[in-house]
């Protein structure tokens, strides 16, 4: 039997690190993709209100979403970043809600939810916010 030597350890460690980084879809193990440090902003003058001209603060509550199984986890997962208006404005197929969650993880760095939690959120979104615009797009023979 071959003895474990330092070469084995190095090869094994490098492979493990490579795999971790390669499979890290959320980008938690990588730094920002472009090595870029924004120019230092000049310090605001003492008499300037740094918030002047900003839009009014906005906070939603759980009750702003319709009641249903999965409402709480959906609320706290989604509103960590954006308002509920963005959710409620959309009526999407299950496929599109599913890929919306991928988009939030891949593009907007949402921490991936545990599979059971993700399923609960997806069920909630698909049930509460299905496509609403029927018309000529609602009965497509090729749509599941």
């Amino acid at each position: 039997m071959t003895q474990l030597n330092i070469t084995h350890v190095v090869v094994f460690s490098l492979t493990a690190v490579f795999l971790l980084v390669a499979l890290d879809r959320a980008g938690e193990l990588r730094g920002p993709q472009a090595a870029y440090v924004p120019p230092a902003k000049p310090a605001p003058a003492a008499d300037i209100d740094p918030d002047k001209g900003k839009p009014p603060l906005h906070n939603d509550t759980v009750e702003d979403l319709p009641d249903g199984k999965g409402r709480e986890i959906t609320f706290y997962t989604c509103t960590a970043c954006h308002g509920v208006a963005l959710i409620k404005a959309q009526g999407l197929t299950r496929d599109l809600w599913d890929s919306s969650i991928d988009l939030m993880i891949e593009k907007h760095r949402m921490p991936p939810a545990k599979p059971a939690d993700r399923a609960e959120i997806l069920d909630y979104l698909a049930e509460q916010f299905p496509p609403r615009r029927r018309g000529r797009g609602g009965d497509n023979p090729f749509l599941k």
């Binding site: 920002p32 472009a34 740094p50 208006a85 959309q90 599109l96 749509l143």
Partner: protein, 414 residues
């Protein structure tokens, strides 16, 4: 060529000498006004939530966090979009006000001979200042016309405006830095923190081919309608890349990275600002790899007067309508109006644009032969002969390129 002919008055109206009737109630809610059989609704029709913000008109709020608000069609009636009526599309948070705007710095680096770090004061004094009236239009404008719904903010036609911008040509700045032969694309960065509050990661970072960056009308702007740029619109400096998706017109600009390949920042991949190459079944996921980047925005017309849902006085026989039309990189050649669901069309009068990339006013006198319900449709055609479809086609998961024929509904009282 621009059409300048006037709508021919119908023989009957000439014979009867019918005058222009007064339009009443043109400020009714734009969508959802109950018109059925002329009965008044029991409760006020539910309109969009209206923006309440200093310096801004009561725009229709599509999202509060981040703030996204569109300009209702009847608020797009000004020839030059006033600052308070310009739509708002944020992707992240709004950065803090800077103490000394002229000290704000932007960096030009990457495939250039001389990387530059320029203060806003440098920009203003070193390069010729130019003023143009330029279209700014959200890439997702028109998304709400897709059926079934596409993902994202549900814009009608109000993610667009045409104010006057003052700044310097990006081309002059890039020439000062000296583009290397390897320079093929830009990558834009702004100071807006992400929605999660991070300041060390770009919220969105899109880019364009060098040819677009070198166009005369692509500018780094520091004034909006002659006044210092408001914070919500990108103070102290922003890009204005007219005719293409608004996400290129980076607010709170602090860096332009010249790339030797297509830019790959957030907002360049997936289905973001991309159209499907192979037509996909509406409502399905599609294949991200089978997409092409949205560049020029499509041809679009919006009737700005009267408002959708307007009630016209009894006896009204003619309606003087107004609107705006624009077509991404192209000019508007014609706008046609129909009051019979597209069976017949009559040309509107189309004004020339003050400069390239500005919208064009159209006007028409429309016959309304009797009392009752009318739909007035507008259809613009651009200088390449490309027109608006009857319905939003080429469905894609994130909903770009929807530009169906515009319509308003009016009721002539009996």
């Amino acid at each position: 060529m621009l059409r300048s002919g006037t709508l021919k008055a119908s023989r009957r109206n000439v014979l009867k000498g019918v005058g222009m009737a007064t339009v009443v109630g043109a400020s009714l809610p734009p969508i959802g006004a109950a018109l059925a059989q002329g009965t008044a609704p029991a409760v006020a029709p539910k309109g969009p939530k209206l923006l309440e913000m200093d310096g801004k008109a009561k725009l229709a709020v599509l999202g509060d966090k981040p703030l996204v608000a569109e300009t209702q069609a009847e608020l797009m009636d000004d020839s030059v979009t006033p600052t308070d009526k310009l739509f708002v599309r944020n992707n992240g948070q709004v950065p803090d006000v800077t103490g000394d705007p002229k000290a704000w710095k932007i960096k030009i680096d990457g495939e250039v001979n001389t990387p530059l770090e320029l203060s806003v004061g440098d920009l203003m004094s070193r390069f010729p200042n130019v003023t143009y009236q330029l279209m700014l239009e959200c890439g997702g404008n028109g998304r709400s016309f897709f059926s079934p719904e596409a993902r994202g903010n549900q814009w009608t036609n109000g993610g667009a405006g045409c104010p006057q911008w003052t700044g310097v040509r990006l081309a002059d700045v890039l020439k000062a830095a000296g583009l290397k032969s390897s320079a093929i694309y830009t990558g834009h960065y702004g100071a807006d923190p992400t929605l999660a509050g991070e300041t060390n990661k770009p919220t969105i970072s899109r880019g364009m081919p060098i040819a677009k960056a070198m166009e005369e009308h692509t500018i780094i702007a520091f004034k909006l309608n002659g006044k210092d740029m408001p914070l919500i619109h990108g103070a102290p400096v922003r890009l204005v890349v007219p005719g293409w998706a608004g996400s290129l017109s980076t607010k709170w600009l602090n860096r332009i990275w010249i790339r030797d390949k297509q830019h790959d920042g957030p907002g360049m991949g997936g289905f973001s600002y991309r159209l499907a190459k192979t037509p996909i079944v509406p409502g399905t996921k599609g294949d991200e790899k089978d997409t092409v980047i949205l560049e020029s925005m499509p041809v679009r017309s919006v009737i700005t007067f009267p408002a959708d849902g307007a009630r016209l006085a009894a006896g009204t026989k003619k309606l003087d309508l107004r609107g705006q039309a624009w077509a991404g990189e192209a000019d508007i050649k014609t706008v046609d109006i129909s009051t019979d669901y597209g069976v017949t069309w009559k040309p509107a009068k189309v004004d020339p644009a003050p400069n390239k990339y500005a919208w064009q006013r159209f006007t028409a006198a429309v016959d309304l032969p009797s009392a009752g319900y009318y739909e007035v449709w507008a259809k613009a055609t651009d200088s390449k002969g490309v027109t608006q479809p009857f319905i939003a086609g080429n469905w894609n998961p994130q909903g770009y390129g929807a530009n169906p024929i515009n319509r308003i509904r009016v009721l002539v009282a009996s």
